[in-house]
Symmetry: C2
Subunit: 237 residues, 2 copies
Amino acid sequence: MRADIQFVPVDVQVEKAEEKVFVVIDVLRATTTIIEALSNGCTDVIPVVTVDGAFDLAKKLPRKDTLIGGERGGLKVDGFDVGNSPREYTRDLVSAKRVILTTTNGTKALQSVAGCEHVLVAGFTNVQAVVQRCIALKADPVVVPAGGKGRFSLEDVVCGGMMVDLLGKEGAALTDSARASRILYKAFDRDLLEMAKSCEHGRELIRLGLEEDLAFCVQTNVSSSVPVFKKGSITLD
Amino acid sequence: MRADIQFVPVDVQVEKAEEKVFVVIDVLRATTTIIEALSNGCTDVIPVVTVDGAFDLAKKLPRKDTLIGGERGGLKVDGFDVGNSPREYTRDLVSAKRVILTTTNGTKALQSVAGCEHVLVAGFTNVQAVVQRCIALKADPVVVPAGGKGRFSLEDVVCGGMMVDLLGKEGAALTDSARASRILYKAFDRDLLEMAKSCEHGRELIRLGLEEDLAFCVQTNVSSSVPVFKKGSITLD
C-alpha cells in the first residue's frame, strides 16, 4: 500500500484512478458536516457545485423529505433550509431526510473525483474509521484536501497527515507529499483547536461568529461512519 | 510584506502579479545550475520548454558563444553540449557564453511566471541573497517550487521554507502555506543532505549515478548571485 496526498486540488484522471481510494477532506466544514449528517440518520447527501444547481435539484425531489444545505461566504444561502455548520445537522432535523449540499470548496473537491471507483469522505471526526476502510479495500489511498478556493488549506492537510500517520503505522509506503503532511500533523497534533483557530479559514469562521464550529470539527475519532461517494450520492454504503 | 508559497506549480495570472516577486526554485537541479552558471561568468541563460525549441534557438545564435544544456530523464540530451549538473557549469566552460537550458521541471516553472515583472531564481546556494533582494524590492514574495512533473517536490518546498524562515525574521506576514513550508524546513534543516538523499527526486538522481550533485545542491548561502528572469532571459541584472 502506498499513501499519497494532493496538496492543492487537481482534477483526477478517472482512467488512471484504478486501484486507488480517494479520500476527500474539508475539515472546515463540508466533510465534517457530511459525516455528522449521515451519522444522525440522514439517508444521503448529494453534493452540488452551484446554488442554482441545488435549487433546481430540490424542485425534482419530494419537498418534505429533502433539505437544501450549504454556504457561500461561510453563511447559509437565502432560501436554504440549513447552513454548513455540522452542529446544525441534528438527528431531529436530518433523520430520514436527503440533504442537497453546496459549499465553496468541499463539494467542488468531491466533484473533482466523481466517477472514481472508490471515494470516501473524511474529517478529524472519523479518521480512524476511514483508515480501516482503506486497508480493507486494499487500494492505495490518495488524500484530496478541499483547499480554499483552489489554494492550500492547512487544516485539511493536517487531517490528511493524521490519516497518513495511521496508514504508515499499518505499513503503507509514503510519497514525499504524504511524508510532508505527516510532519505538519505532528507539528500541530498537541493542539488541533489552536491550529484551527490560527489557520486562514478558521480565522474567517471566527470573524463570522462561527468559532464553536472549530471545536466541533477538530474532535478526533468520535464517529465510526465512513461516507462513500458513488454515482453522485454520499451514503453510509 | 507577506510571504507566500505555491505548493504545486500553477500558472500565474500576470495581471494579478503586480507588486509581487516570484521566486522560482528547482533545487535538484535547474535553478542551482542557473545560479552556478551565472556565478561562473555565463552571460545569460535562456530557459526553453522543449528540446526541439532549444535546438531551434541555437541555430539562430552564434555557435561559438552558445551552449545547449539540460536534461530529459535526468540525463544529458543527445547533441547537447552539457547536462543539468551544476558541477558541469565551470568557469572554463561557461565564461562569456550564453546557455540555452531545457529541463523537465525547472524551465516549465520559469515559463509559468514569464511576463511577471519580478522573477528571481533561487536554490539553497543563494537563499540569503534572494531574501535580501526581495526586501529591497518591497514586493510580496511568492515562492514557486518547480515540482516534479506537476507534483509536490519536497526539496523545493524545504528550500522555500528556508526563505520563508528568513523573511519571517525580517517581519514578513506568512500565509498558511508559507507557515507549513517553514515547519517542513525546520524538520530537515539539521541534515539537508539526508533530506535530498531521501526525497523522490534525490533517489532518482542516485539511481542515475548523480549522487554528487545532491551535496552540491544543498550547500547553503555559498553564492551572492541573484539571477533575474526578464524578457525571456536570465541574467545577474
